[in-house]
């Protein structure tokens, strides 16, 4: 799926656990795990609204588009890893 959900990165930045977030947005932990592990097929606007409200972020902070088949890291990322 070309759309990736960067929920784990935002949770880390906000120091919130997945369980806390599940309680705040009214989703089950299982569903939130499906979202976090990029196994979800679609996301409702109401869910996106609840996540952005609790995490105080924009939808673009949570969702990232990667062209299909483009799994290779870009050159800039490689230069960061290998100085």
């Amino acid at each position: 799926m070309p759309i990736h959900v960067s929920l784990d990165r935002v949770l880390l930045d906000r120091s919130i656990t997945l369980t806390d977030l599940a309680d705040r947005v009214g989703l089950t932990l299982a569903n939130l795990s499906v979202l976090k592990t990029n196994k979800a097929r679609a996301i409702r606007f109401s869910t996106l609204d609840a996540l952005c409200r609790e995490l105080r972020c924009q939808p673009g902070d949570l969702l990232e588009w990667t062209p299909a088949g483009d799994d290779e890291p870009c050159v800039d990322e490689l230069e960061e890893i290998v100085p």
Partner: protein, 208 residues
């Protein structure tokens, strides 16, 4: 009659499927016993008969009732069954094996239907397994009908070679049912509907 619960249409269908499954299993067991007995016991003179489908060609004119006025109608072909005493041999064994295969396929199709019905009772409607089972039932209906028609032709051909009767001429003929084939294809279409439904169900369950 209620739709679900005790004494409902659903429970009646479930009961009918279970009853049919056990009935076919009993017939399959009895036929297996007869087949094995055919290898071990001399069957001639045991009052055991078998009916074969036959087709008889006639060219008899038809008259109208009591007035006996000639009409333009003629009897062309009649279908019936020929009952004859069973004898040990390749024909009997081969026929029994083919009938066993038919009953085995019927039992297998009923098993798939029971599995589908059990999943419906658990609230699992559109799952890939049900789509696959319905597709198999559809193929069983189609190929079962083709095989039955081929077997009917073989038996009538055998009869035409080995039996004669006064004023009758046995001919090799088959009676393939187009309606049954259409029903088989309809079941395949329903299987595709279930396959698409399973896909939509999965999409729905993975929509957060």
């Amino acid at each position: 009659m209620k739709a679900i619960g005790e004494r409902s249409i659903s429970s009646l269908i479930g009961f009918s499927l279970d009853a049919a499954w056990y009935l076919v299993l009993i017939c399959l067991t009895l036929l297996s016993v007869v087949l094995i007995a055919g290898f071990c016991v001399e069957l001639e003179g045991k009052n055991l008969t078998m009916d074969l489908p036959v087709a008889v060609e006639l060219n008899a004119p038809v008259h109208s009732g009591a007035a006996a006025i000639d009409t333009d109608a003629r009897i062309g072909k009649l279908r019936g069954s020929l009952r004859f005493p069973v004898r040990n041999g390749a024909f009997f064994a081969g026929s029994m094996i083919l009938i066993l295969i038919f009953f085995g396929a019927l039992l297998w199709a009923l098993t798939q239907l029971r599995h589908i019905f059990r999943s419906l009772s658990r609230g699992l409607f559109f799952i890939p397994e049900n789509a696959r089972r319905i597709r198999w039932v559809g193929f069983t209906v189609i190929f079962g009908e083709l095989a039955r028609a081929a077997l009917t032709y073989y038996w009538s051909y055998y009869t035409s070679l080995h039996f004669t009767a006064n004023g009758l001429r046995f001919i090799a003929s088959t009676d393939i049912s187009g309606v049954t084939l259409v029903v088989g294809f309809a079941i395949l279409v329903i299987a595709e509907v279930f396959r698409e439904g399973a896909r939509l169900q999965e999409d729905h369950s993975l929509t957060i």
